[in-house]
């Protein structure tokens, strides 16, 4: 199969589907479902059948981003982007007849439910990873192909030798979106250089940071995009087997991924002889049992193998000695979701977006005390102030901004004074925090920073696997000391001991979880030391 054949296939699907004049898209991602999207979808479906005046179709789609306003509905011509749609917010099943009556061009939209699409939340985003989210039906293989899906995979398989694929990814300057920011092209070429034989591709979807839901949204909105990225990676490095490691707390993402794998296999886009080539690639899902540490690559592999999810010393790195001892490529969900557009548009295209050392866009999950809670995708290098106050809409209830936590329990907080910093991997590091997977928790002036540090330390303490001493016992002691400070019973000696423990745990822990566990304490101490001192007994 080549690109022309794929275009024919998409055209055939389009013919068979008889595209409607207008689409009513209902967000069926987890957050909108939890605020009642299912009855809305049912009511719309029931009401749509008896519409005489035109051809209209109701479909469930993935995340539109503005989770705080869910359930969200978009009314638009087929394949039209979100900005051109009429978006309704906080919709209930009772609103369905009114929405359907005003769906067709020429009629007036229901103003009382309308969510303006010219607000910065929509207009300032740049969607690459999420370009299909909220537009295609995540359960539809045909929908994905009609939206231009699998073109990158077909192009790679039919026109590009594996080395060219790796070159494009290297040129793009893409860095791992899971947190570390390791250059993706370099990782791929390392695994590709290992002697031929059994190799594996793993997609890390064990998203465990509190307040982070980027991977969940991507998997729930566009699972085929991730599978396509994995298949391209497998082709580039010479692997024939892939695993998606998803946490079991994401049942909807797992369900959609399962459907996507089944449908792609049936259509010959996964499995043996993919698209009539000699390339074989099979994907299986592995469920995580709720351990944060299993997001660490060596612990993740141990868990996939069926062992106890504990990290091991590196080197050897997975690229050399991975799953069952074979060379293994592990990337994050968002990294794989970036691959297809890189192949289609060329690496240089992505390299033109973002900052000098961080290319492309980044998906962030906005959470905490912020008006527009939800999922956004912006260029690397966007200022934090723009993300929080423009796109995020600022702090609700007239409160003042205090800090934003990035990178979850491994990251740190950024205070007001540094909000004008362009966000990329390196700039955040200079502030003592990190990009992490992209969770942003905004805190208003009422937040107590000692409590914030204590919360994250409690998380790390509970999630420590217990293997190495500094992480297992150090986090306990640090949590105890933070607790003591919060109870205003601590002395200056306790604060000094806390700082010393931070240093030891950071320097000696076995894996990233332990090494970064003190970061929330260190960063709150750096910017809000007076709060600690005020609470000393």
């Amino acid at each position: 199969m080549n690109l022309d054949d794929l275009a024919d296939l998409a055209a055939k699907y389009r013919n068979e589907a008889q595209e409607p004049e207008i689409e009513v898209r209902v967000c069926m991602a987890a957050s909108c479902q939890s605020s009642g999207a299912v009855p809305v979808l049912d009511a719309l479906r029931a009401g749509c059948g008896d519409k005489p005046e035109g051809n209209c179709k109701v479909k469930g789609v993935g995340c539109m981003g503005l989770c705080s306003a869910g359930p969200l509905i978009a009314v638009a011509p087929p394949a039209a982007p979100l900005e051109e749609a009429v978006i309704y917010r906080d919709v209930t099943a009772e609103d369905a007849p009114e929405i359907l009556a005003s769906a067709f061009p020429g009629s007036t939209p229901v103003e009382r439910l309308r969510c303006p699409t010219d607000m910065p939340f929509f207009s300032r985003q740049h969607k690459i990873v999420l370009e299909n989210a909220g537009i295609v039906d995540p359960n539809s293989f045909r929908g994905y192909v009609m939206a231009g899906g699998y073109a990158a995979m077909v192009q790679a398989l039919s026109e590009m030798p594996p080395q060219d694929v790796i070159n494009e990814v290297t040129t793009s300057g893409l860095r791992g979106r899971g947190g570390g920011g390791y250059p993706t092209g370099l990782k791929w070429s390392t695994v590709a250089k290992m002697p031929a034989g059994q190799k594996y591709v793993i997609c890390n979807a064990d998203e465990g940071d509190p307040g982070a839901f980027m991977d969940r949204a991507i998997l729930e909105s566009d699972p085929h995009r991730v599978l396509e990225g994995m298949a391209i990676a497998a082709y580039a490095i010479g692997a024939n087997k892939g695993y998606v490691y998803v946490r079991a707390e994401y049942p909807l993402a797992v369900e959609r991924l399962k459907t996507a794998i089944r449908k792609a296999k049936r259509a010959g886009f996964l499995g043996n002889h993919i698209c009539e080539t000699q390339f074989n690639f099979d994907v299986e899902i592995r469920l995580g049992a709720g351990a944060f540490v299993c997001g660490e690559e060596t612990a993740l592999m141990a868990s996939v193998e069926g062992g106890r999810g504990q990290p091991r010393p590196r080197p050897p790195y997975p690229a050399e000695y991975g799953l069952w001892g074979s060379p293994t490529l592990i990337n994050n969900v968002e990294t794989y979701a970036n691959i297809a557009p890189i192949i289609t548009n060329g690496g240089a295209w992505l390299a033109g977006i973002g900052t000098e050392k961080s290319k492309g866009t980044k998906v962030f999950a906005l959470a905490g005390t912020i008006v527009n809670t939800g999922l956004i995708e912006v260029d690397m290098g966007t200022r934090l102030r723009d993300i929080i106050f423009d796109i995020g809409g600022g702090i609700p209830n007239g409160k003042g901004f205090k800090a934003v936590q990035t990178g979850g329990p491994s990251g740190g907080c950024v205070p007001e004074a540094h909000l004008d910093l362009p966000v990329d991997y390196d700039s955040l590091k200079t502030l003592g925090t990190m990009m992490g997977s992209g969770g942003m928790i905004v805190m208003d002036e009422t937040s107590n920073m000692v409590d914030v540090a204590r919360f994250f330390m409690e998380f790390c303490m509970d999630e420590s696997c217990g293997k190495c001493i500094p992480c297992r016992t150090g986090t306990q002691q640090m949590h105890g000391l933070l607790d003591k400070i919060a109870r205003t019973e601590a002395s200056r000696t306790d604060l000094e001991l806390l700082e010393e423990l931070c240093e030891v745990v950071q320097a000696t822990s076995l894996c990233g979880l332990g090494q970064t566990a003190p970061n929330p304490v260190l960063s709150t101490l750096r910017y809000f030391r007076q709060e600690y001192e005020q609470q000393l007994g």
Binding site: R312, P313, P316, G325, S464, I469, Q477, S509, L510
Partner: protein
């Protein structure tokens, strides 16, 4: 830890540890070389003849050019490597790590069967732990005396997993394993059944001998009477590698 098996045609490298020039086989780790040359590095989980887990972090060393500290047990020697094993910083870190261990569970030497023959006690002495600055957690752990020959006291366990590895790798029974996470971690026999009911335990006692503290001991021992014999392991390991 999945290090490749030793090869027959290994190269020899030279490196520098604490200012001392040394030669080593390419497949050796830093801790093996240090032990060979009587360079002291404290360690707890590492044991000659067992696989490497790199869990206790006591053997961390500074390597020139490496931004992070590396555990000597899981770091292979390299040509031209410059290693420091005992800087002020390392000594300070090690002392805190040992203090953390003492504060974690209930290590009361004066009433312990291993008093005077305990590796944790010895580590505390060599690392200069004259007192513990952290509060003792004071959480009580259980004791399993159901086995007719041996006893496990989780209050004295440091979770080095030597017992788990010797049982799996040397005896081949895999009676021991670890359950839980964080402070809830505990070594268990079979699926957390009483040791005496274990169907897989061969009562060989290797776990008791390799245990660094008084956590695994023989029944009928009193304070200070539990002396352990770990000679067997290096003999077994040598015999295996000679084959």
């Amino acid at each position: 830890m999945p290090l490749p098996a030793p090869r027959t045609n290994v190269r020899v490298v030279t490196l520098n540890i604490n200012g001392q020039d040394l030669s080593a086989r390419e497949d050796e780790t830093v801790i093996e070389l240090c032990r060979e040359n009587k360079i002291p590095i404290p360690s707890l989980c590492w044991m000659d003849g067992l696989s490497v887990v790199g869990a206790c972090r006591l053997c961390v060393v500074e390597i020139a050019g490496s931004p992070r500290l590396q555990a000597a047990c899981s770091t292979r020697v390299r040509e031209g490597m410059v290693v420091q094993t005992s800087t002020d910083r390392l000594r300070r870190y090690r002392r805190i790590l040992v203090e953390l261990l003492f504060a974690e569970r209930n290590h009361v030497c004066s009433v312990c069967v291993s008093n005077g023959h305990c590796e944790l006690q010895w580590l505390a002495q060599t690392c200069g732990v004259d007192h513990v600055r952290m509060p003792y957690r004071g959480v009580g752990y259980s004791l399993d005396s159901s086995h007719e020959m041996f006893r496990v006291d989780h209050n004295r366990c440091v979770l080095c997993t030597r017992c788990v590895r010797v049982c799996d790798e040397i005896e081949g029974a895999h009676t021991w394993d670890v359950m839980g996470r964080g402070s809830g971690c505990q070594v268990v026999t079979d699926l957390a059944k009483p040791w005496g009911d274990s169907g897989s335990c061969t009562s060989c006692g290797k776990c008791v001998q390799v245990c660094p503290t008084g956590a695994l001991v023989k029944q009928g021992t009193s304070v200070g009477e539990m002396v352990k014999d770990q000679q067997f392991l290096s003999i077994l390991a040598r015999r295996r590698s000679n084959r």
